[in-house]
Amino acid sequence: MKRSDIDVAVIGSGPAGMAAAIRAREEGAEHVLILERQEQLGGLLHQCVHNGFGLFYFEQDLTGPEYGHRFAEKVKDLGVQVLLETMVTRISADRQITAVNNREGVLCMRPKSIVLAMGCRERSRGQLNVPGTRPAGIFTAGTAQRFVNVEGWIPGKKVVILGSGDIGMIMARRLTLEGVEVKAVVEILPYIGGLTRNEVQCLHDFHIPLLLEHTVTEIYGQQRLEAVTIAKVNKDKKPVNGTEQMIECDTLLLSVGLIPENELSRMAGIALDPLTGGPVVDQWRETNVSGIFAGGNVVHVHDLVDEVSWEAEIAGASAARFARKEERKKEKKIVKPGRNIRYVVPQTISAQCDVTLYARVKDMEENVTLKVGDILSKSLRVVKPGEMLKMDLSHNQLMQLRDDEVELFIESAKRRQNG
C-alpha cells in the first residue's frame, strides 16, 4: 500500500481501533491502516488479564487478551495494514498525519479519512492535589496493573486504593490474589465509581473494606510511602475533623477517573465537549472536522469494552463511506443534557436512521423516568454515575422531533407524584 492511497487511517489499536478498522474494511474501504504505538495490537487489553470482556459482543466471558486476539485475527484476515511502535505526533485539520517510528524516523501521510481511537488515560495524583510528601509507591491503578500483569512485579505488600473506578477494584482483587494486603478502597462519593459487578466480585467476595465518603487527606514518607491518613468527608467533600485515621501502607493506588486522550484532536482543531472530555460527534461519530471520526473511550469513557467496540464500528463504517465520497445530508439536531444528566453522546443527531444515545447521570437516584424530549420515556429502578445509560431511538421516533434541540433528562419519582 502506498502512503498516498490510504482510505482510512485508524489511530490506536485497542478494542476501539481494531473494531473501527475491521468495520471500515467490511464497509468496502480498500486501504485501511492502523497506527499503534505499542509493540503489538490490542492497546491496554494486554494488561487486563481478568475476565468479563465480550459478554455482550461475543456473548462469551473472555479475558482482555482473548478479546483482543479475536479482533487481531480479523484485522490480519481482512488485510488491514498495521504500523506498530509508531507514535502519531500530529494531525492537522486537513487530515495530514505525522508519526514517528524507529524504522522510518518521521513519516507523513494524508489518508482520505481518519478514525481517532486513542482511548483514555488515568487521572494522576497531580490533578487530585492530594496533600503530603512525594515518596515512591504511588501509582495509578493502570500503571500498577501493567507492572503486575505484564512486567511481573508487585509494587508493595500493604496497599490502599483511592477511588473505586473499575481498574482500582480489579487491582484490589488482583493484588489480593498475589498475597498483598489491600487495606481499604477509599471513595470520596457515597457510591462507587465503577460497576456494581466489580464491587461484588472484586471487593465483597474478597472481604476488602470499601469506605464510601472517605478520602486520603495526607501522605507520609520521604523515600518510600509509609502511611496515609484517611478521613470521612461531609456533603461538600471536605474532610470532617476528628474522623482521621492513619493507615500504614507502602503503596497507594489511584483509581480516580479516566480522561479521554485528545491531545491530537486538539491539534487538528476538533471541538471537544467539556462534559465528556472527548470530541463533539454526530451519530456517525464524525467530529466537527470533516473526514475525522472518533469512537470508543476517546469520545467518552465507557463502562464496557463491548460498547467501546460497537461505538468505534460506527466510526469505522462512516469513515469508509466518507473515503468513497458518499454524501449525506448535513441536518443536525442538538441533544442537550437536562436534569441529572452529566453528558450525552452523540451530541448531535439527525432523523436519517436509527440512533442509540448514551448518557451518564450526575447523581444516584432511584425510581426515575428517563426521557428524551417527548419521544421516549423509560422507567428505571436506579440510575448511577458509574453505569452508562443507553437508549435506542428509531427512525420513526426521530421523525417526531420538531425542534432543532431535544433534551435528555431524568424525571424523579417525587416530581411524577406531584405532577
Binding site: 504505538r37 511502535e85 507514535m87 505526533t89 505525522t98 514517528v100 517510528n101 524507529n102 524504522r103 522510518e104 524516523g105 518521521v106 488515560r121 488515568e122 494522576s124 495524583r125 497531580g126 490533578q127 492535589n129 496533600p131 503530603g132 510528601t133 512525594r134 515518596p135 515512591a136 509507591g137 501509582f139 495509578t140 493502570g142 500503571t143 501493567r146 507492572f147 503486575v148 505484564v150 512486567e151 511481573g152 512485579w153 508487585i154 509494587p155 508493595g156 505488600k157 498475589e178 498475597g179 498483598v180 487527606t217 495526607e218 501522605i219 520521604q222 523515600q223 518510600r224 507502602d250 491531545e263 486538539r266
Partner: protein
C-alpha cells in the same frame, strides 16, 4: 582522598562555583548527597531569571539584591555556552491601585539610579494587548523586558558536566557526616570515606547551616521557608506570554504566573515558615495557591493543574521581613566559605560563582588559569524540539530515537539511554533530564517503560530501580514472591 577545594552540594550554586573554579588549575571535588544534581531548592522553584519584581528589590545596601542584578547580563551567555534552554519572556507587574503604583514608581527609580534601564510603565490598554487573557482589574503595569525563564536543573547538570570536562571531580550519593580540622587541613567524613581538603565551599542548600555548625562556624541564622508551585497543562501554554507578577494581598505570599521554557505555565504562591525538609503540600496551601492564581487568571479550572510541589528556601533575616543571603568566608574558621541565597538562588548564581572564586583567592587559594578550559558543553539531543529533517537523521543514526517512550512529552528511548550515559540512575533523574513523566499523565504511561530501560542500561534488576535513590525503590516484590513467602 585529597583535594584543594571541596564543594559541598550539587545544586545550582555548588555547580556554578565548580564551573567557575574549573577555569583555574585548582584541584576541586564536588560532593552531592542525592542521586542526582539540583534536587533541592534548585528544582523546586518557578524557574524565573528575575532581577526583583518585588517592590522591595534594587537595594544596593543588600548583598543579595546586588548579586541578582549583577547576574542578569551573565545568564544568557552562560546558557548559550552550556546549551541549556533560556527564554526571555519579560515581566509584567500588575498594578491595581495608586498605592501599588507608588511602590512600583519607587522601584523603577531605584533601578534607574543603579543604571539598570528598561523598566517601563504601561497603561491598561497596552496591558490588555500584551496579555488579553488575564484579569482586567488593573490600572496598568510595570514592564521589565529582562526577565527570562530557564530550566534550573538542566542548567545545574550542564554546569557540572562542563566543570567535569574541565577537571572537577564529582561524587554523588555522598553525604557529609562530619568535618574535623587538623593543621591547615579539613578532614571531611562522608558515607563514602573521608576527603582531606584545604578549602571548603559550603553550598549545602537547606543544610548549609548544619554543615557550618560542623566546624563551629555558625555565624548566621537561617529560616526554612516553604513555597508552593503548581504546574498547568501545556494546553494552556499560550494563555500568557510574560511572567506576571501581582502584589500579594496577604503577608507571606507571592503571586506569580509564568510561562516556562518547556511550554507549561507555573503559578506560585505562599512562602511560609515550615519544618525543615517537610516538602509536603498541604491542602490549605494548595487552596490559597488556586485562589491567588485566579486573581490573575479568573477562569482557571483546577483540572488544568497537572502537578504541584512545595520547595524550601533558607532565608536569612526572615524575622525582619526582608531576607539577606549568605555569601561569606567564615569569621571563625579560615578557608571555609558558606553560600546560600534563599530567593532567588538561580537568578543570583552566575555572580555568586564569581564572588566565591574571589573569596577563595582572598582566603589564600592560588588561582592559576587553566589554559585548556573549554566553556562549551553540548546538550544531548531533544528529539521533540528538532526539525523533521534532523529527527530523520537522528533515527537513521540510532533507531532508539524513533521509539517514543513518554507520550505526553514525546520523549524517545534514545534520549533516555543518553540521559543514563550522562549519569541518570533513577526515575526522577530521567524525569528531570529528559522530561519523561513530566507531562499531563505524570508518568502513568511511561513509568514501566522507563524502569525497564533504566534497568537494562544500568545492568540492574528492575527491583533495584528507585524513584530518587536511597530507600525509594519502586517495585518491592517479584510476581508470586509474596505468595511463596506465605506458604
Amino acid at each position: 582522598m585529597e583535594t584543594e577545594v571541596l564543594i559541598i552540594g550539587g545544586g545550582v550554586l555548588g555547580a556554578v562555583v565548580a564551573r567557575e573554579l574549573s577555569r583555574y588549575k585548582a584541584d576541586v571535588i564536588l560532593v552531592e548527597k542525592e542521586a542526582d544534581f539540583g534536587w533541592g531548592s534548585t528544582k523546586t522553584n518557578m524557574c524565573i531569571v528575575c532581577q526583583g519584581g518585588d517592590t522591595l528589590e534594587f537595594r544596593p545596601e543588600y548583598h543579595r539584591s546586588k548579586l541578582v542584578w549583577e547576574s542578569m547580563p551573565l545568564m544568557e551567555p552562560l546558557c548559550q555556552e552550556l546549551d541549556v534552554p533560556f527564554k526571555r519572556v519579560g515581566e509584567l507587574a500588575l498594578i491595581r491601585n495608586n498605592e501599588e503604583l507608588g511602590k512600583f514608581q519607587k522601584l523603577k527609580s531605584r533601578a534607574e539610579k543603579l543604571g539598570l534601564a528598561g523598566h517601563q510603565f504601561i497603561d491598561q490598554d497596552t496591558l490588555r494587548q500584551m496579555e488579553p487573557n488575564i484579569t482586567q482589574e488593573t490600572i496598568g503595569g510595570l514592564y521589565d523586558p529582562h526577565i527570562a525563564m530557564v530550566d534550573p536543573v538542566r542548567l545545574t547538570i550542564a554546569l557540572i558536566e562542563n566543570a567535569g570536562q574541565n577537571g572537577v571531580k564529582v561524587m554523588r550519593e555522598t553525604e557529609v557526616l562530619n568535618i574535623s580540622q587538623k593543621m591547615n587541613q579539613f578532614e571531611v567524613e562522608t558515607n563514602r570515606g573521608s576527603v582531606k581538603c584545604r578549602f571548603i565551599v559550603n553550598a549545602a542548600g537547606t543544610s548549609v547551616d548544619k554543615i557550618a555548625r560542623l566546624v563551629n562556624s555558625d555565624d548566621f541564622v537561617l529560616y526554612p521557608i516553604r513555597g508552593y508551585v503548581g504546574i498547568l497543562d501545556k494546553n494552556l501554554g499560550g494563555l500568557i506570554k510574560h511572567e506576571i507578577h501581582m502584589r500579594p494581598d496577604a503577608p507571606g505570599q507571592t503571586n506569580i504566573l509564568t510561562p516556562s521554557v518547556h511550554g507549561n505555565l507555573f503559578f506560585g504562591t505562599t512562602m511560609q515558615p515550615a519544618r525543615r525538609g517537610d516538602c509536603s503540600v498541604t491542602g490549605r496551601i494548595a487552596e490559597i495557591g488556586l485562589q491567588n492564581v485566579r486573581k490573575i487568571l479568573p477562569d482557571l479550572s483546577e483540572k488544568e493543574i497537572i502537578h504541584s510541589f512545595a520547595g524550601f528556601l533558607m532565608f536569612r533575616n526572615w524575622e525582619v521581613g526582608w531576607h539577606e543571603c549568605v555569601v561569606q568566608a567564615s569569621q571563625k574558621v579560615p578557608r571555609f566559605i558558606s553560600i546560600c541565597i534563599g530567593y532567588p538562588g538561580v537568578s543570583a548564581a552566575p555572580a555568586t560563582g564569581r564572588e566565591v572564586t574571589e573569596l577563595l583567592r582572598r582566603e589564600g587559594l592560588k588561582l592559576e588559569r587553566n589554559e585548556s578550559f573549554d566553556p562549551f558543553r553540548k546538550a544531548p539531543p531533544v528529539f521533540n524540539e528538532l526539525p523533521e529533517e534532523q529527527q530523520k537523521e537522528l533515527v537513521a543514526k540510532d533507531r532508539r530515537y524513533g521509539h517514543v517512550v513518554c507520550r505526553c512529552e514525546t520523549v524517545s528511548e534514545g534520549e533516555i539511554v543518553e540521559a543514563v550515559r550522562h549519569g541518570a540512575t533513577t526515575l526522577d533523574g530521567i524525569k528531570f533530564r529528559t522530561r519523561a513523566g513530566m507531562g499531563r499523565c505524570q508518568g502513568g504511561f511511561c513509568t514501566p517503560r522507563v524502569v525497564k530501560i533504566l534497568a537494562r542500561e544500568l545492568g540492574l534488576s528492575e527491583e533495584k530501580i528507585t524513584k530518587k535513590g536511597r530507600e525509594s525503590r519502586l517495585l518491592l516484590y517479584k510476581s508470586k514472591e509474596l505468595l511463596e513467602a506465605q506458604l
